[in-house]
């Protein structure tokens, strides 16, 4: 009972405070007004920071309350924001709340007030708002200086795509201020008398160093720099691994750069251990494994910048993520021709953990061997079945043996196996020619393939064994890379062995048998058609004991010397396909098929010629025209070779065109030529016929012809036609008569020219011999008994001229043809023996002064003034040798000669040659006037003339005359 009383008392005592509490708090609502409200400004974050307390709460009292906050801008009545803030409040607790302003706080005064209301379920309704607190003012402009212009916010950091508001405060109200984003004018909104705001929407990234926003009026521009950050991306491909079971390395792709100088931070958290580490790189982080044998890790990577925080997680098992370090020190420990021992080392992992290493052998870029080896520290493996003298690449990588996850990086090492003797005999063939009955053998061999050389071939040994003289051996060494040699042999049978040698030794020998006697070349040549695959050829075996066949040819027969090619075939083969990359269309290839006997002798079996593809002839023959007659001519092109053409010549086309366009001749057919002209065509279907007679032609006609060969691919190119003109029927007569005549005339002319001196002496000597004159015969003919010949020896000079004129004019006087009046003043005084023109009265007998030697008058006058002879009148007919031209020439020559012999100024006695011509003053220039008939008087036969005919009478100055008195009846008329 007592116990019950005690419990009841205790219970009542326990309930008592509760009752007291209920009576104090819940029974009546209390006015809980916020107190000590303080407002501060965080310019960097553009936040208004509010701080207040609620004093009226009881001790230990804790209530959920709602605070209603009002924010005004510029003036208290201008409320721009109102909102509630709910929190649980304790007694005397200092409450904090922040509000981020869109407008930079420096640009406007802000006012804040709040009221509160209990919002606790324990307090029954109704609930009342407390009274508003007094307005608290937040004024950042107080801290500004006295600059005329301010722009805010400073160094604002914004995320790309977001909006930002920039404002300026101008102290000068009159200033007209413009604001620019970089160089783009920006329009804003006036918030107050001196405050403007600019809302930049969806800002974009310009550059890492920020975007300038500036305002300028009259004074110094002011501005701010906006740092626009790209949106931080979530790390991709986040993975972790360990290379040595001591360090875990996590890697990720951070994505694109945020574009800020301040890089985002990356932190690696491990949830099981609760540890974290700040990453030093933006894409990699190292985590040190502790000794607590933790195998599983829950990593979280957190990327964070000013705006965002991104994170990715991964569950990582240490054993399952081992990525061993690359092995090292790989090298060929020992290398032979066919084996190589490779050795390498690995970095140890953990305690006695083994690695699985894979050794790969590469030849020519391909993996040819692959071996797996378990390695703890040192790895070693023997590679076999290698080829001698071959370069290989060995490479190795390793993985964790307990749990394969990833191979390490590969390391590789090159090595080359040692050389070995060549493994195969060279493929040898021969070309036998006979010089003076002795066989000259040219041996050809093909270079051994890389597979068989087993090293660098240094030389080839050629051993010539005379089978008729077994003890005779000749050894030739041909240095590589030669592939042929020439051996001169006797008329014996020979066996020739060829071996290839490298630094290790010789190859097996290749044998060739030579008979020593000429081969039977009389094998008919066949044709073989080429296809895309090559030349398909077959042959008929001649012997049953053939050990094989060889087909030989030249790859490039157009270029000599021929590089012989051959193909060995087994004894069962009776056909093959010869193909070569060197084969070209339009080239003739000659193939020779040999049968190899049991003794190794080669016998020519067949010859074949073919084209891989026949082409039309590339050029036409040069055609000569022979046997041209009036009705036919022969075309000949015998020099045209049919062997070296671009296809088998099947024949020729002869095209013929005539100017008259008449019908085609017999055997010709009319055809349209490629130039659209019409011609006649004759087809010669025999390639060996290289002449053609064109018959039935018209005399004196022009024909055009053109000859072109044709192959199965077409005819040759169209060339120019050659013209032929057929002669007339009588042309041969002219040829037989006129040509001899011309020849004879030429002979006579040449003879005359060569014998001109003789003729001159004979016919018209310089000093005619009166006794030999033809006149004599005339005289004799007339049988004039009075005729006499003047004896030259009796000549007495008939005049002596005394020259009174100046010396210089003498030659000119003689050489210049002047009129008598012109020469009057300087006319020398002389005895004129000749009649003057004045004295002449009417026609009369022709009186000539035969010897002009002393006749100055004749010389002066230059013409026979005393010969009034008209051109029609016959003048002195002194025979053919007295023609004016001949005489003048001769006279001129001698006259000038005589002048040249007289020294100027010395001769007062003017000697005038009797051959002097008064017209030929200048030898070089012909006389202006042709010689008139009177000029013939310059030269006269010296003959006696009847005295009575000589007139006029000598002047008183004349003294003597040598003129002979002639018969009066003898005169010219």
């Amino acid at each position: 009972m007592a116990l019950f009383a005690v419990l009841q008392t205790t219970f009542l005592l326990t309930l008592l405070p509760l009752r007291t509490y209920q009576s104090e708090v819940l029974s009546e609502p209390l006015p809980l007004t916020p107190e000590s409200l303080k407002v501060s400004i965080n310019s960097t974050k553009q936040c208004l920071h509010l701080q207040w307390t609620v004093h009226n709460l009881d001790y230990h009292q804790e209530l959920k309350m709602v605070f209603q906050i009002q924010i005004s801008r510029f003036k208290a009545s201008n409320v721009i924001w109102m909102g509630n803030y709910s929190t649980t409040v304790k007694r005397n607790q200092v409450l904090h709340w922040s509000w981020e302003s869109e407008l930079p706080l420096e640009c406007a005064i802000h006012f804040v007030r709040m009221r509160t209301m209990v919002d606790d379920a324990r307090i029954p309704a109704p609930r009342f708002w407390s009274n508003w607190s007094s307005w608290e003012k937040a004024d950042a402009q107080n801290s500004l200086g006295d600059h005329p212009l301010y722009v805010f916010p400073k160094d604002k950091l914004v995320e790309e795509g977001s909006d930002v508001t920039i404002c300026y405060i101008s102290r000068n109200h009159q200033d007209n201020i413009s604001c620019y984003l970089e160089d783009e004018l920006t329009y804003g909104k006036q918030l107050d008398q001196n405050v403007w705001a600019f809302k930049l929407k969806n800002v974009s990234f310009h550059r890492k160093t920020g975007t300038n926003f500036y305002c300028k009026g009259q004074g110094v521009p002011e501005g701010v720099v906006l740092f626009v950050s790209k949106v931080l991306e979530e790390p991709k491909d986040f993975s972790c691994e360990t290379r040595d079971l001591k360090t875990v390395t996590c890697t990720w792709d951070p994505g694109s750069d945020t574009g800020l100088i301040q890089l985002p931070s990356y932190t690696l958290f491990e949830s099981f251990s609760g540890k974290k580490t700040l990453c030093k790189h933006r894409n990699r982080c190292d985590w040190q494994v502790t000794q607590d044998s933790q195998e599983v890790y829950n990593f979280t990577l957190v990327a964070e910048n000013y705006f965002r925080k991104r994170s990715v997680s991964i569950l990582f098992n240490l054993i399952h993520g081992v990525h061993p370090l690359a092995p090292y020190n790989l090298f060929p420990k020992s290398v032979s021709a066919t084996n190589a021992t490779m050795s390498w080392k690995v970095s140890s992992i953990g305690h006695n953990s083994a690695l699985l290493c894979q050794l790969q052998l590469l030849g020519e870029g391909k993996v040819i061997q692959q071996h797996n080896i378990s390695v703890r520290v040192n790895g070693e493996y023997l590679l076999s079945e290698l080829k001698p003298d071959t370069e290989y690449v060995a490479r190795v990588h390793c993985a964790y043996a307990d749990h394969f996850w990833k191979w390490s990086e590969l390391i590789s090492q090159n090595f080359t196996t040692a050389e070995a003797a060549p493994s195969e005999a060279p493929d040898v063939w021969r070309d036998v020619t006979f010089v003076s009955g002795h066989p000259t053998v040219t041996l050809f061999w093909k270079p051994l393939s890389k597979v068989h050389t087993n090293g660098k071939i240094l030389f080839y040994n050629v051993v010539v064994e005379n089978l008729d003289e077994p003890s005779s051996l000749e050894v030739l060494s041909v240095p590589a890379p030669a592939n042929s040699t020439k051996v001169t042999l006797n008329r014996s049978s020979y066996q020739i062995y060829v071996t290839a040698h490298n630094s290790v030794g010789p190859s097996p020998a290749s044998a060739v048998a030579i008979s020593g006697h000429p081969e039977n070349e009389n094998v008919e040549e066949g044709r073989v058609n080429g296809t895309e695959d090559g030349f398909h050829m077959s042959w008929k075996p001649q012997s049953r004991n053939a050990t094989g066949y060889v087909v030989e040819w030249c790859d490039d027969p157009q270029n000599l010397p021929c590089v012989l090619q051959w193909k060995n075939l087994g004894p069962t083969n009776t056909g093959t396909v010869i193909s070569s990359d060197a084969f070209r269309p339009g080239v003739r290839y000659d193939f020779r098929i040999y049968e190899i006997s049991a003794k190794g002798m080669a016998h020519l079996l067949e010859k074949k010629a073919g084209y891989l593809k026949e082409l039309a002839p590339s050029y036409n023959p040069e055609v000569a025209t022979i046997n041209l007659t009036s009705h036919s001519f022969t075309l000949s092109w015998k020099d045209y070779s049919t062997e070296s053409q671009t296809g088998f010549i099947q024949g020729y086309y002869v095209y013929l065109k005539s100017k008259t366009g008449e019908k085609c001749h017999r055997e010709f057919e009319k055809t349209v030529l490629p130039d659209n002209s019409v011609g006649c065509k004759y087809t010669i279907d025999n390639p060996d016929q290289k002449t053609f007679v064109v018959k039935d032609l018209q005399p004196e006609s022009v024909y055009e012809f053109f000859v072109t060969p044709y192959t199965s691919a077409g005819e040759g190119p169209l060339d120019d036609f050659t013209k032929v003109t057929t002669p007339d029927d009588y042309s041969h007569i002219l040829t037989h008569i006129i040509l001899p005549m011309i020849f004879c005339v030429l002979v006579v002319t040449i003879t005359c020219y060569l014998k001109s001196q003789w003729l001159k002496d004979k016919c018209y000597p310089d000093i005619p011999d009166p006794y030999k004159s033809s006149v004599l015969s005339l005289i004799k003919f007339k049988e004039n008994p009075h005729i006499t010949i003047m004896n030259v020896n009796d000549c007495v000079p008939d005049a002596i001229e005394v020259v009174n004129k100046p010396e210089g004019s003498k030659i000119q006087f003689i050489g210049t043809r002047k009129s008598p009046t012109e020469t009057k003043g300087t006319k020398p005084v002389y005895l004129d023996l000749l009649p003057t023109e004045k004295n002449y009265s009417g026609p009369g007998p022709c009186i000539c002064f035969e010897n002009f030697t002393y006749n100055q008058a004749a010389s002066d006058l230059g013409y026979c003034g005393h010969f009034p002879v008209t051109p029609q009148a016959p003048h002195c007919q002194l025979g053919p040798l007295t023609s004016p031209e001949n005489l003048l020439k001769t006279l001129e020559q001698n006259y000038m000669n005589s002048l040249g012999e007289i020294p100027a100024g010395e001769a007062n006695l003017n000697y005038v040659s009797q051959l002097a011509s008064p017209m030929s003053g200048d030898k070089e220039s012909p006389p202006a006037n042709p010689p008139e008939p009177a000029l013939c008087s310059e030269y006269k036969m010296q003959m006696a003339i009847p005295l009575g005919l000589a007139s006029p009478a000598p002047s008183k100055n004349s003294s003597l005359s040598s003129t002979a008195l002639l018969d009066p009846s003898e005169h010219c008329h």
């Binding site: 160094d155 970089e182 890492k208 160093t209 300038n212 500036y214 300028k216 004074g219 521009p221 100088i261």
Partner: protein, 202 residues
């Protein structure tokens, strides 16, 4: 004395280092002794003239490189943003005696050296990829250091002036980025202007 920027202290340490010294250059020291760190070369004035000519020759290029790297509005508002309106810049009288001119030159070079150090530091942060600008700023700062040493040598050896009162350029470390750019531009504009005067005066 204004707050020394981070770029000022290393400069002064380099210039005035001596055993037991780690503090900035004392101003108006009492009983200062003229003790130069290195022996002064004989052709000091020639070297000073040459260095001034070199600085004058590269000043414009440095100025252009700087304001171009800052972006708009700097290149198109040079007169307002980059005008040589630098307060507290040490004066220079070209007509003074050589001693006076050398003392004034010393003050100017010390002022410019610290200001250029601040600019270099700021630009390495603001324009980390403008390597050409950094290179030119560094080269100019190097030459200024050499010039300062030579002027001090000359003052010391000929005029027995061991210490000169100096004023340093404005500290930009607390400024916003736009102000840093602007102050740097103004300083380099002033630098270009004063170098032309100094090169003529010597």
């Amino acid at each position: 004395m204004k707050v020394l920027a981070a770029g000022v202290v290393p400069l002064l340490l380099v210039l005035h280092w001596k055993p037991g010294a780690g503090s900035p250059l004392p101003i108006n020291p009492v009983n200062a002794t003229c003790n130069t760190h290195h022996p002064c070369p004989s052709n000091l004035m020639s070297q000073i003239r040459s260095q001034l000519a070199q600085l004058n020759g590269t000043a414009n290029a440095l100025f252009i490189l700087y304001y171009t790297a800052q972006g708009e509005p700097f290149p198109n508002n040079l007169d307002k943003l980059c005008g040589p309106n630098v307060t507290d810049f040490p004066p220079f009288q070209p007509n003074g005696t050589e001693k006076v001119r050398l003392v004034e030159l010393y003050r100017i070079v010390a002022y410019l050296g610290t200001a250029l150090g601040n600019i270099t530091r700021d630009q390495k942060t603001l324009n980390p990829t403008a390597h050409s600008l950094h290179s030119k700023l560094n080269a100019t700062a190097d030459t200024l250091r050499g010039l300062l040493s030579n002027v001090l040598c000359r003052l010391c050896s000929k005029y027995h002036v061991a210490h000169v009162d100096v004023a340093y350029g404005p500290d930009t470390s607390g400024k916003d980025v736009f102000q840093k750019k602007k102050l740097g531009c103004q300083l380099l504009g002033k630098y270009k202007q004063v170098m032309a005067v100094l090169a003529q005066a010597f």
